[in-house]
């Protein structure tokens, strides 16, 4: 038995290429063919949302050319950042297969806290924001407590949280009903005007490509050293080049108007940080494992409770931060903040972006892509002077399509053995 195995192996075969039954693609062409193969078998990644976004933009641009103007797109980026940060938190809880329905209320509560502490009580603004985010984390740890210790489903725990936190928001705003944040203050400027210097935006747009190139080259050399197959240098240069080109063109176009908002920069920075944490750290691996098979994760020695707690706390903190950002965007903390469609937009954004509702599948970029889709619809319909009734219907349809695409793709993955 052992003998026959050894006979088959090619002497100088690479460690992961010794099984001659498997076909391996190499080089740039191979990378492209591999991508096409993956898509055909249902491993779509971000492809559907990118295609959908292109479709939506084409339709709106043909209906109203202003939609694609730099000015409008910069506005779009401002609007994306607030709910986008909340959606990033939703990605966290969805990764472990749970849900937080109270993110809207938490964001509204956080804006109320900032308004009260900063404007009414005279706290320094930074301290007020810190307090709001910390209280968000406290609410998240309460959910974690209810879920881990009392076995309360997150759906119910956060549903009651939705009501209770909304109540707290109304309570602390009670006497005034709404608090206006002073115009001209740093916080309101950040939410409404502050953009990156043009040159800095170009430099930052080159960073992702450079990072891909650097880590790619390091991976190639490390894998070659370890006698493992390595991706070709060409494919990495191609990827890095393509991403840099796209980002630079976007920056160039947006710089024709005001430029890239700092708030959007903060959002993208958080997305990239979350992406790193989810894919390159033990914590992220544990999150994926808990979402995929909770019992297996527990038996592997992962502290499952702590992972759930981290997801809930992170989600609530990001929701609070999103609330602070939207307060600065609107220059007010009102009773309406965080109510209405904030909740559902945040959840829909994560799902439209490709994070599974059932846990164990998803990535941080889904928050970014999903929120751009949702805000594009809202923005485009506003430009067309259509009522919010239509906006809700169309967003609902897009969400349904996203989930249908996801479940069809999952079926295809199962039949192609990729699940």
């Amino acid at each position: 038995m052992t003998g026959s195995v050894k006979d088959n192996a090619v002497p100088a075969a690479m460690l992961d290429r010794s099984d001659e039954r498997v076909k391996h693609e190499t080089g740039v062409g191979g990378a492209v063919r591999g991508f096409i193969d993956r898509v055909r078998s249902g491993d779509l990644g971000s492809l559907p949302v990118v295609v959908g976004l292109a479709l939506i933009w084409t339709v709106f641009a043909s209906l109203n050319p202003i939609f694609l103007s730099s000015n409008n797109l910069v506005n779009l980026l401002f609007d994306c950042s607030t709910v986008g940060v909340i959606a990033l938190g939703i990605v966290c809880v969805l990764m472990v297969g749970e849900i937080d329905l109270s993110v809207g209320s938490i964001s509204g509560f956080a804006s109320a806290i900032v308004g009260t502490l900063w404007v009414n009580q005279g706290w320094p603004v930074a301290l007020a924001i810190l307090a709001a985010v910390a209280i968000g984390g406290l609410i998240g740890s309460l959910y974690a407590l209810l879920y881990n210790r009392l076995g309360m489903p997150s759906f119910v725990a956060t549903l009651s949280g939705l009501l209770a936190v909304l109540g707290m928001q109304l309570y602390i705003l009670g006497s005034t009903g709404s608090i206006n944040l002073p115009y001209g203050s740093a916080m309101v400027n950040f939410g409404q005007m502050l953009v990156m210097p043009r040159l800095l935006a170009h430099v930052l747009a080159a960073v992702p490509g450079a990072v891909i190139l650097a880590t790619g080259i390091r991976t190639i050399s490390r894998r070659r050293e370890a006698n493992l197959s390595a991706p070709s240098f060409g494919s990495i240069v191609l990827r890095a080049g393509a991403i840099t080109l796209v980002l630079e063109i976007i920056v160039l176009y947006l710089n024709q108007d005001r430029g890239i908002p700092w708030m959007f920069g903060l959002f993208v920075g958080l997305v990239m940080l979350m992406n790193y944490a989810l894919t390159r750290t033990q914590w992220g691996r544990s999150m994926t494992a808990v979402g995929g098979n909770r019992e297996a994760a527990r038996r592997a020695g992962i502290n499952v409770r702590r992972i759930y707690a981290s997801a809930f706390v992170l989600c609530s903190m990001l929701a609070a931060l999103g609330g602070v950002l939207s307060a600065s965007r609107l220059a007010s903390a009102s009773q309406q903040a965080g109510t209405g469609d904030v909740n559902l937009n945040a959840i829909a954004a994560a799902v439209i972006g490709g994070t599974s509702l059932f846990g164990g599948r998803g990535n941080a970029y889904s928050a970014l892509l999903g929120i751009i889709v949702i805000q594009s619809i809202a923005n485009g319909l506003t430009l067309l002077d259509l009522s919010s009734s239509l906006r809700y219907m169309i967003t609902g349809a897009v969400l349904a399509i996203a989930v249908i695409v996801d479940s069809l793709a999952r079926r295809s993955r199962v039949s192609h053995g990729r699940a």
Binding site: D16, L228, R285, I302, V414, R418
Partner: protein
């Protein structure tokens, strides 16, 4: 019973020794006064009927359940295992019947689950190399370690689960029904794996329903019945003896057929001059 103590001197040092282990769930006594010894380089098969307490015993050793009474001595030290990671850290690795793999993660991620190298910046290259080394030591055939578990066959999944259990260089490995869900070729493959694990000098406890598999690899066969020890056998014990110990009945369809065959054999031998 057919205890033949002088038969085989155990392969190596005593790895695990259970004395008087009991476990009850409320009014139900799942295990009563269990004694069990495992030596290094020895495969001990744990057999018994449904509800005999095999899985409960395995889960107790894996730290999933805590015994109600009795002592566990591991490598000469009395130990208590409060949770699965405590057992892992001691050097007791478990391959559960359902394998406990995350289907959405790839082979490398599963092998290193909870034990990742460089927690803040995962060292994928080193983990992949180590995964291939483990799999090659088991002469396993896995097409790629970068595909999700969902796309592997039952035997390949079992292989991944066993490779994972070897990651921490355990002294004892528990296999719960390793061949239950497998086809003929895959069963043979897994039995080969078990022999290779024994060759590495590990103690192996293997729970199985399948007498053929047990006889193929076990050095000793420990029978449980209704949560109690019911005899220790060696692979050359007859089916009749084993089935008798498992069911607690000396007379059943297996033994009757065995007797008939035996009688026929004697008859035919007697018939031919």
């Amino acid at each position: 019973m057919t205890e033949k103590i002088d038969r085989k001197t155990p392969a190596g040092e005593l790895v695990l020794s259970l004395r008087g282990i009991s476990k009850s769930f409320g009014a139900v006594s799942a295990l009563t006064d269990i004694d069990l010894d495992v030596h290094a380089g020895e495969v001990v098969a744990l057999v018994g009927d449904n509800g005999a307490g095999k899985s409960t015993l395995v889960k107790t050793l894996a730290g999933v359940h805590q015994p109600t009474a009795g002592t566990i001595t591991f490598r000469g030290q009395p130990v208590t295992m409060t949770d699965p990671s405590a057992a892992l850290n001691l050097g007791i690795a478990t391959v559960f019947q359902d394998l406990a793999l995350c289907e959405n993660l790839d082979v490398v991620a599963n092998i290193f689950l909870g034990r990742e190298l460089k927690p803040m910046q995962l060292d994928e290259t080193a983990m992949e190399v180590r995964s291939w080394t483990l799999l090659n030591e088991l002469s396993a055939r896995i097409p790629s370690v970068r595909i999700p578990i969902a796309s592997l066959s039952g035997g390949q999944r079992q292989t991944v689960a066993i490779a994972r259990s070897l990651l921490l260089e355990p002294k004892l490995i528990l296999l719960d029904e390793p061949t239950a869900a497998l086809g003929v070729a895959q069963t043979a493959e897994v039995l080969n794996l078990i022999e290779r694990v024994r060759e590495r000098g590990l103690g192996v406890i293997m729970v199985s329903h399948n007498m053929e598999d047990v006889r193929a690899v076990a050095d000793r066969i420990v029978v449980l019945r209704l949560g109690r020890n019911n005899g220790v056998f060696y692979p050359d014990a007859t089916n009749q003896e084993l089935v008798g110990a498992i069911t607690g009945a000396v007379d059943n369809s297996v033994t009757r057929r065995e007797e008939r065959r035996h009688a026929e054999q004697q008859l035919s031998e007697g018939g031919q001059p």
